[in-house]
Subunit: 146 residues, 4 copies
């Protein structure tokens, strides 16, 4: 596992982060280091439920996807990352103007990688942890994806 | 807990299901019974990742939201349902033309409700379980939501 | 993956099931089929908490271990099975004279196997599902265990 | 929620920790603070599997039980604590001479409490995190336990 990420690799991962369903959700990549990946989103009405709170699915998607990219930072660029499973606890309702997610690898295995994601609600006056997830991922050689 | 749902209650829950982030995701309510809720989605490019597979966040959002509405079928209409936490395993990649979700309540508590959600990938020739979730929910009187 | 288990393999798995910490807990192997493993325990005072209910750890240990042996039934005898992670929901308190566990493989992967375990409380008059778990396991060639 | 624990309360919780199945497992209470509970165990042959590694059930039981007592430190002494569910990831095999568990409350709700447990393998030369769990608990008034 490489301990230093090239600027090229970081740029690639940040661009790769923001595609498909994640673009539809409006999530943006943030700071990237070995074993760590950050992300954020400006919250719009379409992220909320009818009661105004952010939908659990928004937080779960962010926690899962960002954990996957934290895992990408600890494997060679020839590997793909798959989510095997995750668990998320919703700690506080989120109703602020944005969300921030910070994912950290806690097990750097050759095949099985485990990462934690903390999701924060960015409110007017403060920043509150709204959800926490533990995500199990698998590194697979690029060609054996299916 | 009432064992029969009125047509009015079923209609209300089906309409209520399809709002906010869930409308943004294009999910539609399906069949509703006591302790059971179904849903489906026609898959578009914005549900996928760059590799063409459906994003784990789409399945997780569907599993969580549909479990919540299965929980609504076992409580009085004055109650709100909150997701406390959920866990989801991704069993097979999804790449079909649609997803179907079936959620079933397995613990009908007064406060704590547990439901399972099975997500199926609707492929040309068959229908494959792509993810399974176990969701813990809480029933709270409507006025004490926050 | 073989679809029929030899009597020799079944006998081996049943004997192998009841060792170490599992012997200390008094669990016994039950019925075995391809993808399925059963187990039971006669409940003693040392399985309980001070309030008389069976300890969550007893049910969790049974759910995890039995899922592992369900996984053994779908791999070649040269493979070892490791628990990667599990999640368990406690549905009802257990206070009966015994517990029964039934584990079923729901994903038969070459490397990653997923099984569910249902734990039942055997009461005087009936049999109640007291806990349900979803367990992620990995099959590894015997020599590469560590 | 009280922020300071009396010496009497700490002593009571430490004694209460070591009963029933937990005594059978040989776990001992360690350091106690508001929102935190520690525990340890000297590992014996009966904690292990046939391959010499500590059984996942030992770590899961310790993670669950210690999280429960961390929850006891944030509620009034008239409340009981129940495990609703937990999830545990096994990060490294444990084969040392002892285990240590540290549980920390990450959500101090009036009813729903969430705690994390980290389990460490105490090896000859170092100390390695072997498992991590996220536990959802419920505080219930003593008399309404069932």
């Amino acid at each position: 596992m490489n301990q230093t990420l090239s600027q090229e690799r970081i740029l690639h991962l940040k661009q790769d982060y923001e595609r498909g369903f994640i673009r539809h959700c409006g999530f943006k990549a943030g700071r990237v280091d070995h074993g760590r990946f950050g992300a954020f989103v400006d919250l719009k009405d379409h992220h909320r439920q009818q009661d105004g709170f952010v939908h659990a699915g928004v937080m779960a998607t962010m926690a899962d996807h960002t954990a996957g990219y934290a895992a990408f930072t600890v494997v060679d660029s020839s590997f793909q990352i798959l989510s095997i499973e995750f668990k998320i606890n919703f700690l506080k309702p989120a109703f602020g103007k944005g969300l921030e997610c910070r994912s950290t690898v806690i097990r750097e295995g050759r095949k099985v990688i485990v990462a934690e994601s903390e999701v924060y609600d960015l409110r007017e006056e403060n920043r509150v942890m709204t959800a926490k997830a533990m995500v199990t991922l698998m590194a697979v050689p690029g060609e054996s994806l299916v």
